[in-house]
Amino acid sequence: MTQRVEEVPFEPRSVYRRRSGRISEIKYSLYLARKNPLVLSGSVLAIGSILIAALSGIIVDPRSWAFQYPPRYYCWNNPWINWHLQNIKPCPPGTPFYPLGADAFGRNLLNMIILGLPIDLQISFSIVISAFAIGVALGAVAAYAGGLIDEAVLRITDVFFAFPGLVLALVLVAVFGRNLTILTLAVLVVWWPLYVRLTRSQILAEKEKPYAEALKAMGAGRLRILFLHIIPNSIYPVIVQATLDIGGVILTFSSLMFLGFAPSPLTPELGKLVSDGISFVSQAPWLVIFPGLAIVLVALGFNLLGDGIRDILDPRLRR
């Protein structure tokens, strides 16, 4: 007499999830996002930086990177006025018209930071989006096809994992010369294998779940199951990783520019701005501090956002 009282299994994600289910799920995610201070501050920083970058040509005269403005009278240290002084000092922050100070050529630091922002964001987004696309495509195929294809993809990522961070970029730039396409490719080459691995492991886990088996049993096509069911259900961690990586790529790219791989001395970029400032670091530390701080804020924005999204989408923390 060992019959059990019937237990109703609790299945939160049912096979037949209706569209309304997914929408309410998204609504709930947004509700959590509004309550989460990490996401809130992160999205303010991230969206703010994207807006500033998009409108930089309107907010600031694009020529102010390359040309000096006529000297301002308010800045008494300006070299245009004080050229006779031996001790030329760049304009310090806090002066009128120069909220963040100016550099030794009298260029407005705030304007330069705003002008340097778009290239960083543009390149970072293009690298992350390409890495994401390559990673999801290859990872999905590898995980779903299995066998020889899987093994081949894995071994290829193994090879690219053996190049850390900047090393391959140094080689590529040395051989092919300094231009933005090469720099972008140089960073992309070391970034994509991570996405392949991540997507692959996610899909492998998702493939084994009962609902995928059920769909197969119902006679749904392989590609249909993969693209309409498995990828949408397993892609969240990859999206989180992509959000986090936007910050990381900005750091890597600006490091390359800092190291002197900028295509031209007039390329408006934040890492370049820092490296321009270092010869004045003892007299004018703000020339190093503020451009770097701008990079920190942008990267922090995307990192906060990614961290917060991870918390929100983590099923264990969800309910």
Binding site: M1, T2, R4, V5, E7, V8, R319
Partner: protein, 380 residues
């Protein structure tokens, strides 16, 4: 075995009075336990039955003070040796778990630490608390030596054992503690004795093994040994057979029954399986949606169930001795505990509900000696 067991006739081991526990969740406040009263006596096997989500496990965790962070005990008392555990400090609660309340859980795979040997997981109870367990460790070793001496014929070994005995007796008199190494040795011997007690084959080998190297039944036995080795006053066994095969289930239940006679713990067997209760328990308490709806001797309740829910439960169990066309499940489903039904929580599913049921909550009253029920059909 134990030094001075107070074997009076009805020796209350644990008493739970009017326990109420809620969980704070995103969806709202879950009123998981709503006034539970329970009494267990030493050497008694009490079955706590109910559907999943009726609050059995939460009761056990609340008794041991191991509720998760989002739980809150609204009111109630858990009396152990005349002390209310719920009012104790964290440290005293830990001491109570260390010496008096032991838990055995459902799934022995996930509840045993995968990267520690069975032996370490048992002995760490003693080696981490040598001050408290000094006397017990020495006494248990002395008992072991006595036993061995009775069987031993080899004079060399006898003299060796005697030597150890005198050494231990000196240490027992000494007020200072025992060394870590000595504690480890004694704990290991004690652990192996208990692994033998739960009928694990080759206890010395099992002592050195990792949980993943054992079968499900063996792991469950190891977990039971881990609980018993402290000689607790109360043993809470939470669904201990659910994850096991039917044959292994039977072995474990047999073991539990035998152990009840050997140690003087009160055992609360939490299960959703009426068969287990009928086979092993002395008394049974039926839980529904955070309340105890019926309590009494096993035979009495199985013969003469009073509460409509209990009646329904029995109707949902196939019985080969009574010929029936269909099983009769209890209609409806477990209520939402965020907004539980008013009055008697069973009334929306109850076939015999009348106008009084939704209005107030029926108390648990003694209908017959040794048979309590919480239902307005039987007064109250």
């Amino acid at each position: 075995m134990n030094s001075t067991p107070q074997l009076t006739k009805k020796n209350v081991a644990l008493e739970v009075r009017n326990l109420r526990v809620v969980f704070h969740t995103y969806a709202g406040v879950v009123k998981a336990i709503d006034g539970v009263n329970l009494t267990v006596h030493s050497k008694e096997l009490l079955g706590l039955v109910g559907e999943s989500g009726s609050g059995k496990s939460v009761t056990a965790l609340a008794i041991a003070g191991l509720l998760p962070e989002n739980a809150e005990v609204l009111e109630g008392e858990v009396l152990l040796r005349g002390k209310d555990l719920l009012k104790q400090s964290k440290k005293e609660l830990r001491m109570a778990r260390l010496t008096d309340i032991a838990l055995v859980f459902q799934d022995p795979m996930t509840y045993l630490n995968p990267v520690m040997t069975i032996g370490t997981q048992i002995t760490e109870i003693f080696t981490g608390n040598l001050k408290i367990y000094k006397d017990e460790l020495i006494q248990s070793r002395l008992d072991q030596i006595e036993n061995e001496l009775r069987q031993e014929t080899d004079p060399k070994k006898i003299s060796k054992l005697n030597e150890e005995k005198t050494k231990l007796e000196i240490k027992k008199q000494n007020s200072s503690g025992i060394s870590k190494k000595e504690g480890k040795r004694l704990a290991k011997l004690l652990a192996i004795e208990y692994l033998k007690l739960v009928k694990l084959p080759e206890p010395e080998r099992v002592f050195k093994m990792y949980p993943f190297e054992l079968s499900g039944g063996m792991r469950q036995r190891a977990m039971i040994a881990m609980a018993l080795v402290r000689r607790p006053a109360v043993l809470l066994a939470d669904e201990i057979t659910t994850a096991l095969d039917v044959t292994v289930q039977a072995q474990i239940l047999k073991l539990i029954k035998e152990l009840r006679d050997k140690v003087d713990a009160a055992i609360i067997l939490i299960t959703h399986d009426l068969g287990i209760v009928a086979e092993t328990c002395d008394r049974v308490a039926v839980m529904y949606a955070g309340n105890i709806v019926e309590e009494g001797d096993v035979i009495e309740i199985f013969k003469n169930p009073l509460h409509p829910y209990t009646v329904g439960l029995f109707g949902a169990v196939p019985r080969p001795d009574i010929e029936k066309e269909n099983l009769e499940p209890v209609p409806g489903s477990v209520p939402d505990l965020i907004n539980p039904p008013s009055g008697c929580r069973f009334h929306p599913r109850c076939p015999k509900a009348f106008e009084r049921c939704p209005k107030s909550k029926p108390p648990l009253i003694e209908y017959k000696p040794g048979h309590k029920v919480a239902c307005f059909l039987y007064g109250g």
